[in-house]
Symmetry: C2
Subunit: 346 residues, 2 copies
């Protein structure tokens, strides 16, 4: 121990057993390996001009000391935080959670960390607090999960220079010309119903200020437009089964023969509403969901829905944010036909 000077903190003066030793630093490794601290740094950063023997000496020293680079020091000196922030408002929903998990794995594979910041309230203040928090961590980018328009606005107002993407983002410019996946997915759902012969198709939409809801609504109207079907009936829910249950009643009152729900939870609510009203599904009413949550196949009847690849969306978000050239292609949504849809009676 060549501690000539006592630095701040009650650093152990003597090598007391059990005293919590300061974690090894580059200097410790350097000393043990008989090189300079900079060489250690070079090993850490895979510098090309390093003799293999030297690298090995350093690696051995690292293992010996069970060295672990200090992320904070790294961030400070390089002014790169290698940190991605997640700005979220949706708590406990399947889709977002699945995306975030995949996103984190993808980010870590690239040496990035992921922090989350939930805007618990809908008020601008809580959104602001969350963004501000991410800024203090000098997040290099932000992924907005469950993007309401208001959140995106707040973010562009005060993003403090942090780039951001949403999970809905498109990948390459090549793909930029084609319609958004969620629009496509919604059209598939509506197309399926129309093909079965339905002409009175209602839409159980998500909250109006959600991007996803807007995109799915667009798909709904686009497809009906394309088929020159005039009938429209849209009721907004809040993604919950309870809201779907409520809203389905309204839609039924409008005389729909089929319902396209903005997500599977609301579809479940609709299923329940139909069963309570003794309306047979799919006999008298067809219902299509969106997302294909793992439970959808076990609803009664098994739900016809549109499958999304949430995990892939998370991975794409990372690639996009990091400006990678090879962004995985967005996988097209897939219509999963189960038992909740059939031709209309009349």
């Amino acid at each position: 121990m060549t501690s000539e000077l006592q630095p701040h903190g009650p650093a152990s003066a003597a090598p007391v057993v059990g005293a919590k030793a300061r974690a090894a630093s580059v200097f410790d490794v350097a000393r043990l390996a008989g090189v300079s601290h900079q060489t250690v740094s070079r090993v850490l950063n895979d510098h090309p001009s390093l003799r293999p023997a030297t690298r090995q000496k350093v690696l051995d020293a690292m293992k010996e000391l069970s060295y672990r680079p200090n992320a904070a020091a790294r961030t400070l000196s390089s002014s790169r935080s290698r940190m991605i922030g997640i700005l979220s408002t949706s708590t406990g929903q399947y889709g977002p959670a699945a995306s975030v998990a995949a996103l984190e794995v993808a980010a870590r594979a690239r040496g990035y960390s992921v922090t989350i910041a939930n805007a618990d309230g809908l008020d601008p203040r809580s959104v602001q607090a969350a963004i501000s928090h991410l800024a203090e961590l000098s997040a290099e980018g932000v992924v907005v999960v469950a993007p309401q328009t208001r959140v995106l606005e707040a973010l562009s107002d005060l993003s403090f220079g942090m780039p951001f993407v949403t999970l809905q983002e498109l990948a390459t410019d090549a793909e930029r010309s084609r319609p958004l996946d969620q629009v496509v997915g919604a059209r598939m759902a509506v197309s399926h119903l129309a093909s079965l012969g339905h002409r009175r198709i209602g839409h159980l939409a998500g909250p109006a200020d959600w991007l996803d809801a807007a995109q799915r609504l667009t798909g709904y109207t686009d497809e009906l437009d394309a088929r020159a079907i005039d009938f429209r009936a849209v009721v907004n829910g809040d993604w919950s089964a309870a809201s779907g249950h409520r809203a389905a009643g309204e839609l039924i009152a409008h005389g729909v023969t089929a319902i396209f729900a903005g997500n599977d939870q609301m579809a479940l609510g609709a299923l329940k509403a139909a069963s309570e009203a003794d309306i047979a599904v799919p006999g008298e009413l067809s219902i299509v969901g969106f997302d294909d949550v793992p439970e959808a196949a076990f609803y009664s009847p098994a739900l016809t829905t549109v499958r999304q690849d949430f995990a892939e969306a998370g991975r794409r978000a990372v690639a996009l944010l990091l400006g990678e050239s090879s962004v995985p292609p967005s996988v097209e949504p897939e219509l999963v036909v189960r038992r909740s849809t059939a031709a209309p009676v009349a």
Copy 2:
């Protein structure tokens, strides 16, 4: 701009418009406020002996420069990261996701950040990688979400001195004497079935190496023991509806009149299996779930289940980890009786 010396990095030589200005530091604030950097630091840390006028001057300067403390610098110099790590394996499940969201809010309220690290695989290597990652960020503590025993073992082996808790943890020593919530909850479920007259109650358990599964299983056997009911039938699932569907068949083959499922998803699978086998629920078979996911009330029939307060668990985890004296009391689980349970036929 008094940049007398060019520091490292291609810092703009001239004040070019649009050049990304270095963010303001304590020194910038200090200069503008006419105080020393240390005084600025004192304002940041709410030091008691500060003249109100001085504090105000500094605060004004901060606002003027839109100063934002640099978390990395703070961490480095204080050797306190103010960072809590989430070690997770469950992707996209309702309960964990809800807990994590609440946890994050609670942590941020205390000035802490939350990073996540998913052990995507079950293999020890990926668990190790996740833990190691959290260690590099010098996380001050780890909350294990969805704790499999193997994860906990790995963590105690190489936690690098980071304390950790699980969401299942008990709070105070005062509470330490009473049984775990999940055991209590499971007993409530079984008790409910037994009270209805069931004697052949099967358990659709979670994966054997999950703490939650183990606790719920304990509750099941404890309650049956207490009631001197000999019949036992346990089949393990993997929390998914699909596994519940599969396992329910086995349980039915054992001649059960009621099933206590380890979570609502598996209960849904069981519901489906019953309906496919033309077994009336609750007429011929009663089913109880666990968790009370938001959709449970909309299953067919509406599921009787045990409600857990996931958000509160997340908050408690933070308090516990931070060694706070006033840990919110664990709220006892609640039995929610709906339509999937009734007295047995015979």
